[in-house]
Amino acid sequence: MFHSRLRRTAIAVAAAGALAVTSACGSGFDDGATTEQSSGPAALQVLIGSSGEAETKAVNDAAAKWATATGNTATVTPAQDLSQQLGQAFAGDSPPDVFYVDASRFADYASVGALEPYGDKLANKGDFYDSLKQTFTYDGKFYCAPKDFSTLALQVNTDLWTKAGLTDADLPTTWEQLQATAEKIKAKGLTPLVVGDTRDRIGAFLVQAGGWLVSTDGKQATADSPENLQALTYFQGLQKKGLAVFPKQVDAGWGGEAFGKGKAVMTIEGNWIKGAMANDFPNVKYTVHELPAGPKGKGTLSFTNCWGISAKSKFKDQAIKFVEAMTSVDQQLAYAKAFGVMPSLKTAKDGYSQQFPADGPFVTGADYAHGPVNAPKMDSVLSDFDTQLQKLATGDPKAVLERVQKNVAAALGS
């Protein structure tokens, strides 16, 4: 019968469609409790949040070297937007084996179980700086190997400095001197200081005043302390007198760009500024100094990434070997040379200081540097803090800190 055949076909098509729907979804619905481990040659997927071509090339070369030496393969992919790509990969159950984890996002990943806590299995675990190890410790477990680190320091444009009639004696070492020097520069019609408009720069003033947003154990909100208020009031004072500006106010994307273009005499940036200056502004002469000390002494911020290994990787053992190779002294010194980061190993410090004697202020910063806020679900709280900092010039520092206090406490409580 024609119509019954038609109907049969229709039912078959519908059934096939339904089957396709269920099978398409089925693959994603099962739960992956423990991932089966494969030994032998591994095909590692490595996702990096590269700072630029130099870093991509350096990591690629190192991975290729490791792959040939060990008989594994390692595919390095530079991410356009690391946190988004990682988020998608975790959600899709297909995360890369090895990837960069930013210190400020580390707690987010660790708290949801995305990371393999392999830190204590590393052969060179004792050699990392303790403060960096602490940054990547969550719930008492050392999760991942610090890749390298950076600290903030003060950069001074040599030509503009001379133009403003200043000498080495004017280099500021305290807040008072910073303000006095800035006023002298301002009097000459130059912009004294350009600072990025985020907690990652202005936060250094909090540290110098002896404050921070959370307590040392990361369990309490301490944002509305008098120390923090003193820091923000001081910085607001600089802004109100036109002594400190944000990069956007001088048409630059970040402090280094404004500094390189000569829009300001001083800036506060990390050691990555070396690469940017060498590439984009090779003719600008500048010197690097430690940040001026605040009422509670010297203070700076440290930034670091770690080599995260996915809890769902099939090649965890090989991945750990890969990370050991990436964090070896020689390899880290090669990275330092290629894209200007500082090695995360204590034993690499001397080698680094010999190669880069001008980086003294950055390396010294490691002694009194403060890491990022190390607690999960802080990103929206901290970006709200950034928003408040952007409005600081016309805002009320006390209200800003009370607001942050409320938000941090809410995020830590939940």
């Binding site: 229709a10 098509v13 988020g87 987010d108 949801v112 956007k248 106010q249 928003t387 952007q390 938000n407």
Partner: protein, 360 residues
């Protein structure tokens, strides 16, 4: 074989055949549209943290928590969401009328038979619409840079242009303080002490920020070309006889536009405003490229906030909830607009038609 068709009734096979013909579309729409929406709905009701599938047993069901956080709980989530709603509301309020009027104006201009080089102008006005929005956004970044073309032009007239993308001040605040009504540093306590849904009245009344207004200018410029094309198509459908008839009746150009052209354009007007409303409430790529919600959250929009909440904070539930609220908002507004623009003018139209029949 074919004789059997009659026995099953003349329509009997058609239903099956009909289903068979639509089956591919039903399957495709179901698989790629309906199913993902239902999955997202589940995510918006869950506490999924983005690890593995959201349909495993250990993903907690949190009910309407993700929604109530946006409306009833005092906290950062609600404040961010309400700020994004405020920003986007001002954005829609300015973009939709501006782009509709501009598109209509352009269409009327290029529709004139006497205009020389009509096709050139049609192409020129349509051009921004076919260019990638990312490319245009980057171009506007240059135009509105502090030392960019716009500020250079303003300085020719002795004006000091603002730092467009760094300026979080609201236009309404600026206007009020320009008129000397309020002091932005010390806003009236009546407005700051009370508020609605986590934002004070003073914050609700900020108007679009200077940074947002550059995005508004960009979008009006980009989209009016597309809508011009729709108006143009409708204008070409306006019968010449009608215009001639109104000419004989002694109607001037303004009357012709008001009583002949515009009523005939009403369906197109509805289409343009609906599409405008939908696309403006969903604005994302310009924000992503140009401002990422900065300065001071004044270019934060629900679509961008949803993305940021899900992918930066790992709060996929909240992110999905925001997008569902946005979806409902768009549906409600479109229905409201349908109601406002419903056919109420039967009478003038029937009056027009007999006139024409009598004359022809």
């Amino acid at each position: 074989m074919f004789g059997s068709r009659r026995r099953g009734g003349i329509r009997g096979n058609e239903a099956v055949a009909g289903w068979l013909f639509v089956a591919p579309v039903v399957v495709i729409l179901g698989l790629f549209l309906l199913l993902p929406i239902l999955m997202a709905l589940w995510v918006s009701l869950s506490g999924w943290n983005g690890q593995g599938s959201p349909f495993r047993d250990d993903v907690p069901f949190v009910g309407a928590d993700n929604y109530t956080r946006l409306f009833t709980q005092d906290g950062l989530a609600r404040e961010n969401f309400m700020t994004s709603i405020r920003n986007n509301a001002y954005y829609v309020l300015l973009v939709v009328p501006a782009q509709t009027v501009l598109a209509l104006g352009l269409a009327l201009v290029v529709n004139r038979r006497v205009l020389r080089g009509r096709s050139f102008f049609r192409t020129a006005f349509y051009f921004p619409s076919v260019t990638s929005s990312v490319a245009i956004s980057v171009m506007f970044l240059f135009l509105f840079a502090n030392t960019g073309a716009v500020n250079s032009l303003l300085s020719v007239f002795g004006l000091d242009g603002p730092q467009w993308f760094a300026d979080p001040r609201g236009l309404l605040h600026l206007t009020l303080s320009g008129l000397g009504l309020v002091d932005p540093a010390h806003p009236p306590a009546a407005l700051t002490d009370s508020g609605l849904l986590g934002l004070s009245w003073w914050e609700w009344l900020s108007g679009p920020s200077v940074a947002m207004s550059t995005i508004i200018i960009l979008v009006v410029w980009t989209t009016s070309g597309t809508f011009m094309l729709m108006f143009l198509a409708a204008l070409q459908d306006v019968p010449v006889q009608l215009e001639e008839a109104s000419l004989i009746d002694g109607a001037g150009p303004w009357q012709r536009l008001r009583y002949v052209t515009l009523p005939l354009l009403k369906p197109t007007m509805f289409l343009v405003i609906t599409l405008g409303l939908i696309s403006t409430w969903q604005v994302f790529d310009q924000i992503y490229v140009m401002s990422q919600g900065n300065p001071a959250k004044t270019t934060l929009t629900p679509a961008y906030l949803s993305y940021r909440t899900a992918f930066k904070d790992f709060e996929y539930g909240s992110g999905a909830a925001i997008s569902f609220v946005l979806f409902l908002l768009i549906v409600v507004l479109t229905l409201g607009q349908r109601w406002v623009m419903r056919d109420r003018d039967r009478v003038p139209r029937t009056r027009l038609l007999p006139t024409r029949t009598r004359r022809s």
